[in-house]
Symmetry: C2
Subunit: 392 residues, 2 copies
Amino acid sequence: MKIEAVDFFYLSMPVVTDAGDGSQDALVVRVHAGGITAWGECEASPLTSIAAFVCPMSHGACRPVAASVLGEDVSSPADIARIAATIQWNSMDLLQAAHTWSGIEIALWDLLGRQRGEPVYRLLGYDRAYPKLAYASQLFGDTPQETLESCSAVRKAGYRAVKCGWGPFGRGSLKEDADHLAAAREGIGPDGMLLIDAGQIWGEDVAAAEARLPLLEGVKATWLEEPFHGSAYAAYGALAKKTRSVKLAGGEAAHNVFMARHTIDYGRVSFIQIDCGRIGGIGPAKQVADYAAGKGVTYVNHTFTSHLALCASIQPYAGLADHRICEYPVKPQPMAWEMCATHIAPDRNGEIRVPDAPGLGITVDGASMKKYLVDAEIRVNGKLLYRTPSLD
Amino acid sequence: MKIEAVDFFYLSMPVVTDAGDGSQDALVVRVHAGGITAWGECEASPLTSIAAFVCPMSHGACRPVAASVLGEDVSSPADIARIAATIQWNSMDLLQAAHTWSGIEIALWDLLGRQRGEPVYRLLGYDRAYPKLAYASQLFGDTPQETLESCSAVRKAGYRAVKCGWGPFGRGSLKEDADHLAAAREGIGPDGMLLIDAGQIWGEDVAAAEARLPLLEGVKATWLEEPFHGSAYAAYGALAKKTRSVKLAGGEAAHNVFMARHTIDYGRVSFIQIDCGRIGGIGPAKQVADYAAGKGVTYVNHTFTSHLALCASIQPYAGLADHRICEYPVKPQPMAWEMCATHIAPDRNGEIRVPDAPGLGITVDGASMKKYLVDAEIRVNGKLLYRTPSLD
């Protein structure tokens, strides 16, 4: 199938706040090839990723992503890997290219799956998809009381695991952090799984993170996520040596497979979290899943927008029975929810399953997408390089 | 001084080819503050970096670079570091942000230097700037004969060191590489310093790179640069163990200080090459220079565009007498040459000196920049977010 068209749709809530809530906008990718329409999603900063697709070439190793994609043939997973390798070379000096390509790559897996009538995880070599324990991924409340209420709410909704992140955590005193952690534990209950996301708050300050370990152990947290800058492997490795029951999680910032491997090898995380919308899509994420499994590290998806992105994020480890935990954005903005007509809902055990339908198995909702569609236009020397395409 | 305006100027040759020649376009940054006009330059893909400056916020950790810069006070180097830290946090999920910020950061050093009447290297804590041995940085010829001619030409022009990179090297047989290397050595002469840049050609294939080591030793090359993907530290480290007289160089892809440190610590390079237009500007580059000096690793600038970028690239290690080698783009495109009214020329010993004038000490040529100015425009929901500003 020849890639005939790649269209980007920038969706956004009418008002975007400075909360750490990644579901406030989205960059959806539509690919047309062989009479089939397929869909993918990039993570973060839609306008910048669109620019990386359409920008004029700077030189041979800094070409726009479009130059390596349009007109290419995609008939097998090897073709997707071939295009990925071309982009890595041709857009070596274009930093944003990995994020732009990620959404296209996801759409190409959706395309192949739709053409072959197979779910994506089968194209990746998995015989079956195992259920995953959905953890309700949400932000800390502004107060411990709010944290308690939100964790109680997800427990009542049937979740057996919760992640609290960002907000006030790590910004104030140990006492304030301890109060939030106690509230979260009380909310999810004594048997619930509790995960804590520090959102890089300590930069590379190992001592600041280490000071929280006893608090985290006290509430039986399963992991401490992103204590440091995504590239601060040495700090991760130093903190890993200090951990006992609480393990480290990280890796969402990885924009290539090397960075994920480094997070495992140098950073000594026990949970490697991969965002398919950043690392270059589903193919490289599957490579990380294989690598993690070989190292005794647990693979976890990272996702915080739509169910299209959620579904893509699960494929790389769908067939790994022992890698059980799955990020599930529990309070997405209306835009992120409504843009999909089909959703992945937790069952009574708090478990989710990827659809068994062809491709990603997610149907987008064009009418809802139109409600949130952002009108963008990029011109260079009078030539129109991008204008929001029609959803029809 | 309050940052009143940050303007981006996208310059380009009329025709951009797919040669690995980074001087075909440029993104120049102009900052107005405290009645002073200062200049900086970002590396690669101007349109994408402009988009990262003006894009709408996606969420609290994915804000446009502009949001952390405009209106800020800059009265000391600490203020520049403060803004850098703010951007690292506020634009954590905006991959391109590091490249965009780099040019602004450079301009802020130029600003402080102009205000204080001091060259930037003094603001960095250096008492004096040592002369650097300029290596003529150029591409391999298409044939060994062309490589011979270009290396002979730079030798005749007074250079005592040459770097050949990209082009056919590493793409064909060992024999073809050997012929190019012999031609380069013949061209620069028996006493000249010969540096070889593989331009990431072997991905992470250590054996392919190792096979070239005897050839490089045979022509007494000083370094092998970027044999692998910029993040493939393990491959660098494995190859470093195999080297004898030829040492490894790398690091130009680093877009934060951590990555540069990893290239030293895990990649075991002997020469760390930093591009100020990518790593976040002069401040982080100086941190890398200090780190390298402490580890017995030689710092080298990476630059391939204008003399504005060249001058910025030398500041971080201007005062390190033992770090002698300096990349000097020898055949820049007319745009990259003409955009500066002042230049840094090698003396009879093939050495260059950074200007002792305030700031970066480079005067831009507005009239010449106008000749190459690209007209760009970005609109979102009818609102003009960017239009090429006036150079007057």
